[in-house]
Amino acid sequence: MHIFDDYVKPIRAAIAADPKSGKLYETLSFSERSLQKGLDFKVFNQQVPEKRLLPNLADFARELGLTPNFEQGLGLHPDFSHLKHSESLEDHYIVSMFVDIKGSTNLFKKYTPRTVWIITNTIQRAAIHTCLIFGGYVHRLQGDGLFVYFGGKNMKPDLAVKRALQFSSVFTYFVKEDLKNIFIEQGIENIYTRIGIDLGYDTDVIWGMAGIGEISEVTTCSLHTSLASKMQSYAVSNGIVVGDHVKNESPALTEFYTPVCHRTQRENDRYIFQIPEERFNYTQYDFNWLNFLKRQDFIATDLSGQLQLKQKAVVIPNRNIANLAPIAAVSKPYYGFES
């Protein structure tokens, strides 16, 4: 898809420059040498700026007609920031998502901590940038992963669900396809994501300040935030598990949801939460994010089955008719209709 190519480059550079990788200093590029000399953070910030999308991802955002809002702080959702240091609580729906990035511990087997730091931070910045494009709010960083919210005062639950599914699908594709190649080349175990998503309606979610003084955050108290975290642990490698409410808010996507118990073959896994006396049975579903992604307006599937970004808004400098010719030349059209 190429939208994360610019994020893959610093990871490759860091790996190449790692003293443990055994690459000769003379063969390193300028940026690789700079990394090795210990200018890590400065060079890293130049390569993956905090508050600027890298070019390919910026093209992607433009294609979607979305603009990321970088002016956010952890633990202070902008629509609920008034609750900080207040004694008020507020009922408001939210989509909660836990993005876990697994397997990064293996990186320490092959690389120095500085290299690992660059790799994990690049992945995390790619996740944050992508999340912001889709209008998500990063509530907390959890190790290499993220706890994010989608939705707020000016967005309806169904759009928040759609954006959450789009972000999680695009980011999973990045980790599964783009990063996979690097790590296969390096002969280390793969890094993968596991994501859990759930929606709590107004009646399910309380917003308020948790903690004391500055040791605090504006956060949610909701069964469905808890369930999102729990469902993430049920996801397969590079998998996404969602709750009943997410499915209900996306009726056009029913074909992409399969109860988790169908995969595990254990009926106990059908419901992620039950209150028998209230006959409350809450189902968890595997989300077929790849098929969902293939159906998005901004995605095209090429003849070899690879997903490609449909760029209409952007003029593509490298678009070359010679690359279309081999496919086109197979056609030999005729005209036999009578006038």
């Binding site: 190429h2 029913t254 074909e255 399969t258 098929n291 293939k294 159906r295 095209a300 599937t301 090429d302 003849l303 070899s304 089955g305 690879q306 490609q308 970004l309 449909k310 760029q311 593509i316 490298n318 678009r319 070359n320 008719i321 690359n323 279309l324 010719a325 081999p326 496919i327 086109a328 030349a329 197979v330 056609s331 030999k332 059209p333 005729y334 005209y335 036999g336 209709f337």
Partner: protein
């Protein structure tokens, strides 16, 4: 809703959908055909996206032994004979002869889209961008049919094609050791055996029609 494979077509379509995810299908009881509709995104060999066509495909219930009809609904291709598309948007993907021959051995809907439909639209983009098709095209009407016999079945001329078509229609003089009716002097087995088998698959109605049309075409040609 998970697609359930109840027929050969539906089973094949599930696989085709992996490659062309924005197409969907339904059964039209009135016309008794499968109807495939949706978007076909065209990318090049480098994976770069070029354009999207809205298409509709009618697949007769005789699938896989059938010729699907393909129409463009998005109006990107100029409705002009030189663009191989009818005013209603029906696309002339190939000669009837090629398509009939293909249908006799059975088609696969995914392969048909990849090899005939996708390439047709890629070729239209090529012409829109560069004013010419990337490969060859057939002449219109009967001249294209003659071109098919000459280029695809290696028959030397329209006259030779008529001779072979008549022999196939009358089912005589086409044993492997007979002289090939193309006039080469060789035995059938060393000459147009494969082409003759292909022609047999067209059926008598199409063969008769081709004979009539080619004869009419030749008599109308200026001396």
């Amino acid at each position: 809703m998970v697609l359930k494979a109840n027929s050969v077509f539906e089973r094949d379509f599930i696989t085709a959908k992996e490659r062309f995810p924005k197409l969907k299908y339904g059964w039209d009881a009135k016309i008794k055909m499968w109807v495939i509709t949706g978007e076909l995104d065209i990318c090049d060999t480098a994976g770069v996206y070029w354009n999207t066509f809205q298409i509709a495909m009618l697949v007769p219930r005789g699938y896989p032994y059938c010729v699907p009809i393909v129409a463009e609904r998005s109006d990107i291709v100029p409705r002009d004979i030189d663009w191989h598309i009818s005013p209603e948007g029906i696309c002339c993907l190939d000669t009837d002869n090629s398509l009939i021959a293909m249908s006799k051995s059975g088609i696969n809907v995914g392969d048909f889209i990849a090899e005939k439909v996708y390439t047709f639209f890629a070729n239209q983009i090529h012409k829109l961008e560069s004013k010419q098709y990337a490969g060859a095209e057939y002449a219109h009407h009967t001249a294209g049919v003659i071109q098919y016999y000459v280029e695809e079945l290696n028959i030397p001329s329209a006259e030779a094609a008529i001779q072979i078509l008549k022999k196939v229609l009358n089912k005589q003089g086409l044993s492997r050791n007979d002289r090939c009716p193309c006039g080469s002097g060789l035995k059938v087995k060393s000459c147009h055996e494969t082409g003759i088998e292909t022609i047999k698959s067209f059926g008598p109605v199409k063969i008769k029609k081709d004979i009539e049309n080619i004869e009419k075409h030749l008599s109308a040609e200026p001396l």
